[in-house]
């Protein structure tokens, strides 16, 4: 009796696991199909904007949701990626867009190493303040630096030819390029979260002193998470510059660091899909409100939404959906 019981439990759990995995894969497949047909239903540039911000929010979420680190300076990485890619593609016509984006991403990584090394030793609000201060430093650097165009920004960045022969001037091919970049970025995050590294990161988020007492050098793990997040934020910025053919101070402003927090919390921090949903909602609202008579009230309305979100559904839209799904279908 006892032996059949113990033999049955793991196999039932395994079957449940397998079914859940299959359902998840179907769900992701459906999302990819939606992503593939979307440019025929909506304006591609608008969709690309959502994808860039979604990737940015996902990178931020990796840090806040899975490492428990609230960075208030993520705009610095977005802007650095954007400026580096913009400058390279404007100044060196021989560089193809994918190389430009790669170098922009690496710039994000490099800045992440520096910022991370300076900030991860602090916790909570102090960590947020150090990252904010460093990001402000970058903001003033971008105003003064000779290659950024100062207040005007970098205009007319050439999209160029992907791999040297596929023109990205057409918005549809540009869209599929951006979609592919987004999927790569998302896959990196999904893998990082579900990796041996991700397990340790979760443990540190849950109980840092305990992780230390298990022998983990937590600072090193936090630094790696910070660098991956910074690199992906740089990737988002580089791609965004390519889409809009523009790199400007808006990306470096602390407003941008705040906006990405709003997107992530609204969609659901610590969920993989939440930041995408949050980015979609915020970008859509900005777009709709800008055309309506309420155009001047965008910040106020977003602020109100933020307050409502924090007060009434803390785990965000996707977080709440996941909760009610678990409650009703398990």
């Amino acid at each position: 009796m006892a032996t059949t019981e113990t033999a049955r439990i793991p196999s039932a759990a395994m079957q449940r696991q397998r079914r859940a995995n299959m359902r998840r894969n179907m769900f992701y497949l459906a999302l990819i199909v939606i992503g593939l047909v979307a440019p025929f239903l909506a304006y591609p540039v608008f969709l690309m904007k959502i994808l860039c911000f979604a990737l940015f929010a996902c990178s931020f979420n990796l840090l806040l949701g899975y490492a428990g680190l609230l960075s208030f300076g993520h705009a610095a990485f977005l802007a650095t990626g954007g400026y580096v890619t913009g400058y390279l593609l404007s100044s060196y016509p021989g560089i193809t867009p994918e190389v430009g984006i790669l170098i922009g991403t690496l710039a994000g990584v490099a800045l992440g190493v520096v910022f991370g090394a300076l900030s991860i030793r602090r916790q909570g609000i102090y960590f947020a303040m150090v990252t904010l201060a460093l990001a402000q430093l970058m903001f003033f650097f971008f105003i003064q630096a000779p290659f950024t165009g100062g207040e005007d920004g970098l205009h007319g960045v050439v999209r160029g030819h992907f791999l040297g022969f596929i023109s990205l001037d057409d918005n549809l091919s540009m869209y599929y390029f951006v979609f592919a970049v987004f999927l790569i970025g998302f896959a990196i995050i999904q893998r990082t979260v579900h990796s041996p590294f991700g397990q340790v990161l979760k443990a540190i988020r849950e109980n840092e002193p305990r992780a230390v007492s298990l022998g983990y050098n937590v600072d090193a793990y936090k630094l790696l998470a910070f660098v991956i997040s910074a690199g992906l934020a740089g990737l988002a910025g580089s791609t965004k510059t390519l889409v809009f053919q523009l790199a400007s101070l808006t990306d470096a402003h602390w407003h941008m660091s705040g906006e990405v927090i709003l997107m992530t919390l609204l969609g659901g921090v610590g969920t993989l899909l939440g930041p995408i949903m949050g980015a979609g909602i915020v970008v859509s609202l900005q777009h709709l409100l800008a055309q309506s008579p309420l155009g001047n009230w965008v910040s106020v309305i977003l602020g109100l939404i933020f307050v409502v979100c924090v007060l009434s559904f803390r785990s965000g839209i996707v977080g709440e959906l996941a909760k009610s799904y678990r409650k009703n279908f398990k």
Binding site: K202, E206, S213, G215
Partner: protein, 258 residues
Amino acid sequence: MSADYVLETRGLTKEFRGFTAVDDVNLQVQEGHIHALIGPNGAGKTTVFNLLTKFLPPTRGEILYRGKPITGMKSNEIARLGLVRSFQISAVFAHMTALENVRVALQRKLGTSFHFWKSEKTLDHLNERAMELLEEVGLREYADILTVEMPYGRKRALEVATTLALDPTMMLLDEPTQGMGAEDVDRIVELIRRVSKGRTVLMVEHNLSVVSRLCDRITVLARGSVLAEGDYDSVSRNPLVKEAYMGSEAAEEEGAQA
């Protein structure tokens, strides 16, 4: 001579802005012993614990592990030597399952913990060992349960399983039975007795009946310094200890034992 002791402190002192929390403590823990650190509130027990495990730097003094100085090492390095601590409040990873809690301790030795490009399925071969450890503390049926949903006593048992996963030579337990009902206390006492075979244990404990049942040797701290040391009988008969700490409580305790 010092190698006779697993853990030894010499003149260990910790001052906080002029207030001496731990004052010239010489502690010697013998191999294989269950050693208790007791004392009234504010005696400096937890501070000593934090000094030993490097969560606080000492102001003066030396800490030796198997005769070698470890005073300047970091917390995580101490853990790698086999000195693993628990915490006063149950230290578990709340939003991970019981199995994952144990596995995260096991996975360190694989050396892949920085590999963010690998699937977590590469950890699955540790599940068997993790299940064994859960079985050992009676938590097999909790394996797939999120820790946050487990009762308090079970969380403490899980913490023991996670500690055992590191195969420590010495366990430092900070008030392992704190906040528990009588039934859970008995279970934890049995558990500590069982897992301490072949290991050394140093524990801070308030519950004197637990101390009398488990411990080979007792150090009494009062106001930051060592007041007495010995086995339970000699310590509980010591008039200084009675006066400073146990008082009438000790008499009741003896009455209850008899």
